[in-house]
Every structure is written in structure tokens, then in C-alpha cells.
């Protein structure tokens, strides 16, 4: 016999994400899911952000990587609380992994929780982690056609950070083109060109962060 099912395949991840969302709300936490290809500068952006905003905002960080504790160590060196998840080959974080990492990290006394996802522009976009916003980093060395090739992740994000703009003089990258195509799939996308290494452009990103946190607290 035929049975009509009509159930989302990622249902159990979505249920876990809904539980996380309630847990985050209870703590009044702003939660960001940080996405990019491997090596686009996620951890460097975090190091700079956490250092510059030290004393203003309290950050917790969950680091997702296939292997190693390197990124959690780098982030912890800024004084922020950080835990590492290793996926051992898995291409994305799911809500169950994040729930476990939250138990380990503790959500008390934090303003912002950042989840650095596994470097990958495809799979992580499909897995809801209970975040308030997905932040996708595109570095100028990757080429300005990435929003055309990976439209889904840009359609799901609230912010696109164009990173490593200190390298613009050395690589052919048209920020206009990248922005136009990203906005084609997502007209409300906020776009900030930054260089975490030099600090260029970071203030606009910090302003967005603070405004989002204030808005979240108001809803709360």
C-alpha cells in the first residue's frame, strides 16, 4: 500500500534546533552561525572581533572542525569561553552536536554565542542550529562568482562578510558582482567588506552585532 508521509527529512534536526532556540531565548543570547569555505577567515574574524569587543560583550564560541582543537585554542586565547566539536569527516554541525557543546560550554553570563561551522558552502546551510542569523564569509581570493555557484547558502544568510579586502589590489575580484548576485537570491542581505587582519571595515560589522543584540533583548 501507499502511505502519504509529507515529512521533512531533517525533521529530527529541526526539532533539536527548536529546543535550542528556546534554550537560547531563556538566556537572552544572540546566536550566530558562522559559515564559509575552508580558510576564508572565520577564526581570524572571531579573534579580531572578540579582542576588539572585550569588556563590551561577553562571547561564547563553539568551534566545529573535522579534526584538531586548534581553532578553539586560538579563540580561547582572546579570553572568551570556547569549546571544540570534532566531526571526524562530517561536513556540517547538527543541532544534537550543538546541544552537547552548549552543555559543556555553559550558557550563563554570555551575550553572544558564535558557532563556527565546518568550512563548507553547501551542507551546513541545510542544518538549522537554532541560531538567530547565519553569517556567511566570502573571501576575495575565492572569486566573485561564489554567490552564483552556491545560491542556497547566501539565500539563507542575513549577513555576507566580504573578507580579506586588504588583498583586493592583488586578485581579480569585483565586490559589485558578488554583491549583486548575492542580493539576487536575498534582497535583505547586509554586506560588510572587512579585513580581519588589518581591522579595516570591522566597525560596521560591530555596529550590526550590537544592534542585533539590542533588538533581540527588546523582543525578549
Amino acid at each position: 500500500m501507499q502511505v502519504e508521509v509529507a515529512r521533512p527529512i531533517l525533521e529530527s534536526n529541526d526539532t533539536g534546533a527548536a529546543q535550542l532556540r528556546r534554550r537560547f531565548a531563556a538566556h537572552g543570547l544572540l546566536v550566530l552561525n558562522l559559515l564559509s569555505s575552508p580558510g576564508s577567515g572565520k577564526t581570524t574574524l572571531l579573534e579580531r572581533t572578540l579582542t576588539d569587543l572585550r569588556g563590551m560583550l561577553r562571547f561564547g564560541v563553539i568551534e566545529g572542525d573535522c579534526q584538531t582543537e586548534n581553532d578553539a585554542r586560538r579563540v580561547a586565547a582572546t579570553g572568551a569561553r570556547a569549546v571544540q566539536i570534532n566531526t571526524y569527516g562530517g561536513c556540517h554541525l547538527d543541532s544534537a552536536m550543538v546541544a552537547q557543546a552548549c552543555d559543556q560550554l555553559g550558557l550563563e553570563d554570555l551575550d553572544v554565542l558564535v558557532i563556527e561551522n565546518v568550512g563548507n558552502l553547501v551542507c551546513p546551510a541545510e542544518f538549522d542550529l537554532g541560531e538567530d542569523a547565519k553569517i556567511t564569509i566570502l573571501s576575495v581570493t575565492e572569486g566573485d562568482d561564489k554567490p552564483e555557484k552556491y545560491p542556497f547558502i547566501f539565500s539563507q544568510s542575513q549577513v555576507m562578510l566580504l573578507s580579506k579586502i586588504d588583498l583586493l589590489p592583488y586578485v581579480p575580484f569585483d565586490p559589485e558582482r558578488a554583491s549583486t548576485f548575492a542580493r539576487a537570491v536575498n534582497p535583505d542581505l547586509a554586506i560588510f567588506p572587512v579585513a580581519a587582519l588589518t581591522g579595516q571595515g570591522m566597525d560596521a560589522w560591530y555596529t550590526w552585532l550590537k544592534e542585533r543584540l539590542a533588538a533581540k533583548r527588546q523582543d525578549h
Binding site: A6, F181, P187
Partner: protein, 117 residues
């Protein structure tokens, strides 16, 4: 990797549905995936074979159906399916407006139905 975790999700739901309806032999699973999702049908089928081999679900077929992208024009409200080559600017056939339309279909990722005895 991704396909393996999708198939794990599929199998968990399939087992629940079989139990709910008192069925024991799965013949077919029909999956719908939107054009904007990152599903590769062949990879999904392979992962399904691998994860069902040697289990009570072995031999069942996984069928995938692509749900095309369709949008509503942000300017005139016309509903249309952008052609592949227009996938990015998505010019509206009625008024020519580009960019920023509302996505109606193309984000789906679900089990549509199963066949079992």
C-alpha cells in the same frame, strides 16, 4: 557525508511510518528535493543502498523528484519559474523586474510517500 546523514533521517522516519501503519516490507520511498537544496540524487541513492544493505529494508527503492524553482515577482506579483540560464537575475516575463523575488518552491527536502506491505 551529507547524503549519509540525510538517509539516516529518511530511515528514521520510514521506520516510524512502517510501525504506525503496521507494515513490515518497504518497497519504495519517494523523496522530493527543491532545486535550491544541495541534494545530488545519485549520491542519495547510493547512500540509501549502503545504509539499507543487510537490514530488513534491503532491496527497497529510493526515488527522487526535483521540485523546480518558482518565484513571485516582487514588483507585479506574477508567478513564474525562471529558466536555468536566468536563474540569477530572474527577469519577470510580465514586467521585466529582476532580483529580489519571493521564492515559492525550490527549498523542499521531504519524504513525499512510501510504498510498503
Amino acid at each position: 557525508m551529507h547524503e549519509l546523514s540525510l538517509v539516516e533521517g529518511i530511515l528514521a522516519i520510514v521506520r516510524e511510518e512502517l510501525a504506525k501503519h503496521g507494515l513490515c516490507r518497504l518497497l519504495r520511498v519517494r523523496v522530493k528535493h527543491g532545486a535550491l537544496t544541495a541534494v545530488v540524487p545519485e549520491a542519495l541513492e547510493t547512500a540509501f543502498e549502503v545504509l539499507t544493505a543487510g537490514t530488513d529494508l534491503a532491496g527497497a527503492l529510493l526515488e527522487t523528484e526535483l521540485v523546480p524553482l518558482s518565484v513571485r515577482c516582487r514588483s507585479c506579483g506574477q508567478e513564474f519559474s525562471p529558466k536555468d540560464e536566468d536563474r540569477f537575475l530572474m527577469p519577470c516575463p510580465a514586467c521585466g523586474a529582476e532580483l529580489g523575488h519571493t521564492v515559492l518552491t525550490g527549498r523542499e527536502l521531504l519524504i513525499d510517500s512510501i510504498e510498503a506491505e
